[in-house]
């Protein structure tokens, strides 16, 4: 008989506790949960919220934030939008004037072949290499 897969989903708070270790007991619980699970879902919204919290609440530098998110994306047990976020994070790290949402929205448009992205955001238009225009 095939073994039942242990699955579930992780929210922003569980992943932050895992990476920050400010509440050691919670970090250990999440690490144990990952160890005992076969597959865990991490949604796009969770990744984006993590970036916001690391940037706006904990004031980490972008390069550190990207390393943190990569540690999640590279874990084979995490089921997440790896392909897209690799490009989103490259753009986020390279362009300090763009927020993670700007980078994700632009990348969504590119991945879904739905460019141009229409926006009044001057920085986004400027940094999009022609994929974002003012309506």
């Amino acid at each position: 008989m095939a073994k039942n897969k242990t699955t579930g989903s992780l929210d922003t708070n569980t992943l932050l506790r895992l990476l920050l270790g400010d509440v050691p007991k919670q970090a250990q619980s999440v690490e144990l949960l990952i160890e005992q699970s076969d597959q865990l879902e991490v949604s796009d919204a969770v990744i984006i919220e993590m970036v916001f919290v690391l940037e706006k609440v904990y004031y980490l530098e972008r390069s550190m934030i990207v390393t943190n998110i990569h540690s999640i994306l590279s874990n084979p047990k995490m089921n997440c939008n790896r392909g897209m976020f690799k490009h989103v994070l490259d753009l986020y790290e390279a362009e300090s004037k763009l927020s993670i949402v700007d980078c994700a929205v632009l990348q969504y448009a590119r991945v879904h072949k739905s460019t141009p992205l229409y926006s009044f955001d001057k920085a986004l238009v400027k940094k999009s290499r022609g994929d974002c225009v003012t309506p």
């Binding site: 929210d11 922003t12 708070n13 932050l16 895992l18 990476l19 920050l20 270790g21 400010d22 970090a27 690490e31 919220e49 993590m50 970036v51 916001f52 919290v53 690391l54 940037e55 706006k56 609440v57 904990y58 004031y59 980490l60 530098e61 550190m64 390393t67 943190n68 990569h70 540690s71 590279s74 874990n75 927020s99 949402v101």
Partner: protein, 80 residues
Amino acid sequence: MYKTTITSQGTISIPAVLRKKYGFVTGEKLMIEDTGKIVVSKAPNFADMRKMNQKAIKKFVPYKSGDGFAAHVIEKYGKK
């Protein structure tokens, strides 16, 4: 530049000098990335990430869901 041979099972050896240089140890998980070239790197370990973050973060404040979004919205769309 180093040369290595691929086996019928797809296994390759990383030269000892590089294992030592990059601290690769037996049983360690590595990441293989396809960027047009194959890139092999150490998979970040959560315990290492915690150590790095604890050094980098000056103050740990309690976080409530939505705090990060709220700070972004105020910064980007709030009154100036």
